[in-house]
């Protein structure tokens, strides 16, 4: 053993073997088959060799072997011994010293508790023996590593050394140039400066760091060491902000750099001061406040880049914040903060009052930045600036200019609110609150939308805060103005903004509510304002107002003889109201009695009066009400859910109108009988909404009976709307059924019956189609929860695509299964949707569809498969399709060639996505893609399809120019007639597509 080790060592020292030999030695040491003492003894003759190279390599070898050993392998005696030896080697020949340093670096990194006294010894020897500047980069790195390790692991020893360590480190670090070493040196310097008392060496320490500022470093190409300029900048910045002692040296340097010609230097100076100011505090920056402010002012007014301006402002904020005296504001009226704020104001006042908008706004924003830093600065600055700003906003005639000033005023409004808790600040601006509000009110009344919305926001911010004493009348008049605006604003985003402004103010000032609701209710009754209902919904802030508004809407819903469309409108408002307050427990406690039963009752009462002409309107109304019940289903408490379910199941199963609160003489209804008139069967939509939302575990009573009835109803009800609703009930129940035997118990009879209904009497195709629709819904329900039995459903559905009669519907159904929807089966609705179910479904069934397509004999059946594939692919992320694209693209193209396919639009979407993500797949097919797309763009009946085709054509221009060149002229020519399409939206796309191709043509010209 010993012999083999000796050979390995000899080989390594002679340079004839590599690291493997060392690894073997290390593993022997680790397995204890070789003692550390033996290893060192083995090295003996090399360590004492007369040849310095051999001595050096042998010293290095210790480190390399240690590197392969686990940390803390050596005992503290061994460490001490090795370290003492290495320290001695530091004073050896200059070719041995670096190896000793490297080994020391490894040794210190591997044991986190050096024996006491040893760290000091190591440091002192290094400071005495090592001339760091004369070493190579990697050896200097080793020096810093040793120091860093000692700082980290044995800081108490370093503390004992005090100034000796500091000056030693400064000498070692002096004139370091390599970024790799600088990173570690900065790290040490930051640590030393923040933990040790620098004392007499503060200036030296700062000088050795300050000479690097501002950092200018461009990493070599491909940056092998991964160090960027940004890393260095951040490391140096941390050093600067490490201790308050640097302030007297650092701030003058930064101020000087703030006037540098280099933008990056100025940027860095501002950022560094922003970070240092909180550390340096008032004493650190006070002396230089004047020059800092003037540098920032210069930078902001120069307005070179937005980023620079923002950075400079952030800097001035940090400095003023640092300047804020700790003691009470009142005591220091003539404080430096106040004086320099006033000085700044006087300096820039010619811009504030001038006619140059850009400069003016920059100056205002600078003043605002200063004001935002502390209450003291706010008190000094705001009263000076506000009158000027108000005047500027008022005097402008051009909207864009006015808007710029308005933005500044809104900014000040926010500051006013921010400091409103401070009594002194609030007092200083109190006289201006009125005029500011007046300005906003005036702008709210103008015609420019930008001004209105900004003014509304700011007004609501001011009104929310009660300290300003904005009177009730004023507040009401502002609110009325906003509410009126909201009622008549067509633009949704703009309207939402007004609504939220009104809502926010009312939350703080509920007393203003009656006036606003009165105004809104009157507007609803008169029917003049299109969006008055939304405003009324927005006024609701608590349970009382909820009850009030809710009752108002319910009264309208329950009124006999109202137009069904109006009822739908009010129901929609109730839905909106409910959905906005689902998270309010007080509201949710009252909804069962106040909202759920009254709505159900009204709709059931109305159902007797529905005429055959109203079918369309009725389905709209029922959809809205079903959504209300869906929300109730997922948001009510368990007790309430059970109560509502009991009532509903009694009503639907037994026709018991008392259960839902109707009086005794109400005629008996049988909504779950397939043969009932449509007015009754459609009521099933209410049950559908509730089942879709509810936690199924809470609906115990007669659940199976409801399931069976709904299933039978879904198979045989002839009214389309009722039939779909029933399908959804069955599917929801299957999707939500708890894991275990119950689901099989539910499914088995269902599968049998629906399969036979689909296949049996092909003469009655309507009933077959109903069974198919139910089957599709069940497939979706099962696939969504990724149930093991889902494959039974989906494989049967895929096989039905080949059926000549049911094929088209089944193909559409496949698309429906993977269609995203947030209205059913989602987790929020207590359903179960597993992630990636679509991808799974696609992967499992795509192959069968392809096979089906290839084996299909008749053209119609082939078309069914194509439609299925197109629909399926259009709902899937491209990532999933990518591996199949080479097979898919020809199929998609042939589906485009089939005239009249309704899947065109979807196919084009997929194709368009394919073009942008995988150009190589499309390029070989260009000679059929381009003419096909042109044909569709010109001829297709549907405008959506034409638009998609044009989008696709535009996407094509991203392909390689060489491949497109043959088609350029033709596309430009044939798109000419499309510019005269009868639909404006198509023309718009055509213009874009043609422009893209024309620019291609121009680019390819020599």
């Amino acid at each position: 053993m010993a012999a083999s080790m000796k050979t390995k060592i000899a080989n390594y020292v002679a340079g004839t073997s590599d690291d493997d030999a060392l690894r073997e030695i290390a593993s022997d040491l680790n397995k204890k088959s070789l003692k550390f003492l033996e290893f060192i003894e083995g090295l003996g003759e090399f360590l004492t060799n007369v040849d310095t190279v051999v001595r050096g390599r042998a010293t290095g070898l210790i480190g390399h072997v240690l590197n392969f050993l686990p940390p803390s392998f050596l005992s503290s005696d061994q460490v001490e011994l090795v370290a003492t030896f290495l320290i001695a080697k530091l004073s050896d020949h200059h070719s041995v010293q670096p190896q000793a340093l490297q080994t020391l670096a490894i040794l210190t990194s591997r044991c986190n508790s050096l024996p006491s006294g040893l760290p000091q010894l190591i440091c002192r020897s290094i400071f005495r023996e090592v001339q760091n500047q004369s070493l190579s980069q990697s050896d200097r790195y080793a020096t810093y590593t040793v120091l860093q390790n000692i700082l980290g692991y044995s800081f108490p020893d370093v503390e004992e050394m005090g100034g000796d360590f500091v000056i030693g480190f400064i000498q070692q670090m002096d004139s370091e140039k390599d970024p790799r070493n600088l990173m570690i040196a900065f790290n040490c310097a930051q640590f030393i400066s923040s933990r040790l008392h620098l004392g007499a060496f503060t200036e030296e320490m700062f000088e050795v760091l300050g000479c690097y500022f501002p950092i200018d470093f461009t990493p070599p190409a491909n940056n092998p060491h991964g160090i960027t300029k940004e890393d260095l900048i951040l490391a140096l910045r941390k050093c600067f902000s490490a201790t308050v002692d640097f302030a007297q040296h650092c701030v003058p340097l930064l101020v000087e750099k703030m006037t540098s010609d280099l933008q990056s230097a100025r940027m860095d100076a501002f950022l560094t001061l922003t970070e240092c100011a909180p550390v340096y505090g008032r004493n650190g920056v006070a002396e230089f406040l004047g020059s800092i402010v003037s540098c920032v002012k210069r930078e902001v007014l120069m307005n070179l880049t937005a980023e620079l301006v923002e950075t400079a402002k952030a800097c001035v904020v940090a400095v003023f914040t640092a300047m804020t005296p700790k003691e009470d504001v009142n005591a220091s009226k003539d404080d430096a903060v106040t004086t320099s704020a006033v000085e700044l104001y006087q300096d820039v006042s010619k811009f504030l009052e001038g006619s140059d908008v850009t400069k003016g706004c920059l100056a205002f924003s600078l003043c605002r930045a200063v004001a935002s830093s502390s209450p003291l600065a706010f008190c000094a600055m705001t009263p000076l600036v506000l009158p000027v700003l108000i005047l500027q906003v008022k005097n402008q005639s051009q909207v864009s200019v006015q808007h710029s000033y308005l933005m500044e005023l809104s900014g000040f409004a926010q500051q006013i609110v921010k400091f409103s808790t401070n009594s002194e600040s609030a007092k200083s601006v109190s006289e201006y609150i009125g005029p500011v509000c007046d300005v906003f009110e005036e702008l709210l009344a103008t015609n420019a939308q930008e001004l209105q919305s900004q003014a509304a926001q700011s007004l609501s911010t001011l009104c929310k805060t009660e300290q300003f004493g904005i009177s009730q009348e004023k507040c009401v008049s502002y609110l009325k103005l906003m509410a009126t605006r909201a009622m008549h604003t067509v633009d949704t985003a703009q309207r939402k903004l007004y609504l939220s402004s009104v809502h926010e103010v009312l939350k703080q000032r509920p007393n203003a509510r009656p006036d606003i609701t009165e105004l809104t209710k009157a507007a609803i009754k008169s029917g003049e304002a299109s969006y008055a209902q939304e405003v009324l919904v927005a006024t609701v802030t608590d349970v009382n107002s909820f009850t009030d508004v809710n009752n108002f809407f319910l009264k309208h819903i329950s009124q006999a003889g109202t137009d069904i469309a109006d009822v739908s409108g009010h129901a929609e408002s109730v839905r909106e109201l409910l959905s906005q307050h689902v998270s309010d427990p007080e509201v949710m406690a009252v909804v069962l009695e106040q909202l759920a039963f009254p709505v159900v009752m009204s709709v059931v009462t109305h159902s007797c009066q529905w005429k055959d002409d109203d079918k369309e309107k009725v389905s709209q109304l029922l959809t809205v009400v079903s959504n209300i019940l869906k929300i109730l289903g997922y948001s009510m408490q368990k007790g309430d859910v059970t109560k509502l379910w009991d009532a509903l199941q009694k009503f639907y199963l037994l026709g018991d109108a008392h259960a839902i609160g109707l009086s005794g003489d109400f005629p008996a209804l049988t909504p779950l009988q397939p043969k009932s008139p449509w007015q009754q069967t459609r009521l099933i939509a209410l049950l559908e909404g509730f089942v879709e939302g509810v936690n199924i575990q809470w609906t115990v009573e007669n659940r199976e009976a409801v399931f069976e009835s709904a299933f039978g109803f879904a198979l045989s009800c002839e009214d389309e709307f009722s039939h779909i609703a029933a399908c959804k009930i069955v599917a929801s129940m299957v999707n939500k059924a708890p894991l275990g035997a119950q689901i099989h118990w539910l499914l088995e009879p269902v599968m049998e019956k629906s399969k036979s209904a689909m296949s049996s009497n092909s003469g009655q195709s309507a009933s077959c189609l109903r069974a198919l629709t139910l089957w599709i819904w069940l497939t979706k329900a099962m696939e969504c929860r990724s149930h093991s039995a889902a494959a039974l459903f989906s494989s049967h559905l895929v096989s039905v695509v080949g059926d000549p009669n049911l094929g088209p519907a089944a193909a559409r159904g496949l698309g429906h299964v993977v269609q995203d929807g947030d209205d059913i089966f989602t987790t929020k609705l207590n359903g179960s949707t597993t992630p990636l179910y679509k991808q799974r479904f696609f992967t499992l069934n795509f192959k069968h569809l392809l096979e089906g397509y290839e084996q299909a004999k008749s053209q119609e059946v082939k078309q069914n498969y194509l439609t299925a594939i197109c629909l399926l692919t259009s709902h899937l992320p491209l990532q999933v399709l990518k591996p199949h694209l080479s097979k898919l693209v020809p199929l998609l193209l042939s589906s485009l060639e089939q005239a009249g396919g309704q899947a065109h639009s979807q196919t084009l979407l997929t194709l368009g996505a394919a073009v942008s993500s995988t150009p190589d797949v499309i390029t070989p097919h260009l000679d059929s893609v381009v003419p096909n797309l042109l044909q569709i763009a010109q001829r297709n009946q549907s405008m959506r399809v034409r638009i998609s085709a044009l989008e696709c054509l535009e996407n094509l221009t991203n392909l390689q120019m060489l491949a497109l060149a043959p088609y350029e002229k033709r596309v430009v020519r044939e798109l000419g007639p499309v510019l005269d399409d009868r639909k404006r939206l198509v023309r718009k796309r055509a213009v874009e597509a043609r422009a893209a191709w024309i620019s291609l043509e121009n680019a390819s010209k020599p």
Binding site: S400, A448, A995
Partner: protein, 157 residues
């Protein structure tokens, strides 16, 4: 740096995108060309010397665009930012080329300077009305490149 004709122009707000009306979504209704549609085509053209659109400089306005779909005619007046603007011809040419590419060929397009807003109004109008001169200008590859620069759609915020 080449000095600009108008170094500090007044910037106007951009219009919002046109609202899509229900009848525009309806496949059976025929949408006629109207002035807003043509205005939408030309308002995005870039000014040759500023990073702004013609709309932002108020060079083109919707009220100065007249479209008669049945008579196949489009009249456009544009207003240079200053009376001695040397770019007026180029702006006019850009508008012409844009419409040449984006309008059906059945339309006859007239592009003119608003009366009294430019020193050499008649000369420019004459140049823009002369089909052959326009065609010849587009043969000039350098000029075409400048025009294309104006027609490239900027990413607008």
């Amino acid at each position: 740096m080449v000095s600009l004709d108008n170094a500090n122009p007044v910037v106007f707000l951009r219009r919002k995108e046109r609202h899509v009306l229900p009848e525009e979504e309806d496949d059976d209704v025929t949408d006629k060309f109207d002035s807003r549609e043509v205005f939408d085509l030309i308002r995005v053209i870039n000014d040759p010397e500023h990073p702004l659109t013609l709309e932002e400089l108020n060079v083109v306005e919707e009220s100065n665009v007249k479209v008669d779909d049945d008579a196949n005619a489009v009249y456009i007046l544009f207003t240079p930012t200053i009376p001695h603007c040397s770019m007026a011809t180029l702006i006019g040419l850009s508008i012409r080329v844009k419409l040449l590419r984006a309008l059906p060929s059945r339309f006859k397009v007239d592009v003119k300077i608003s009366p009294g807003t430019h020193d050499s109004e008649h000369a420019v109008n004459k140049q823009l009305a002369d089909k052959e001169r326009v065609a010849a200008a587009l043969e000039n590859s350098h000029l075409l490149e400048v025009v294309n620069q104006c027609l490239v759609r900027r990413a607008t915020g």
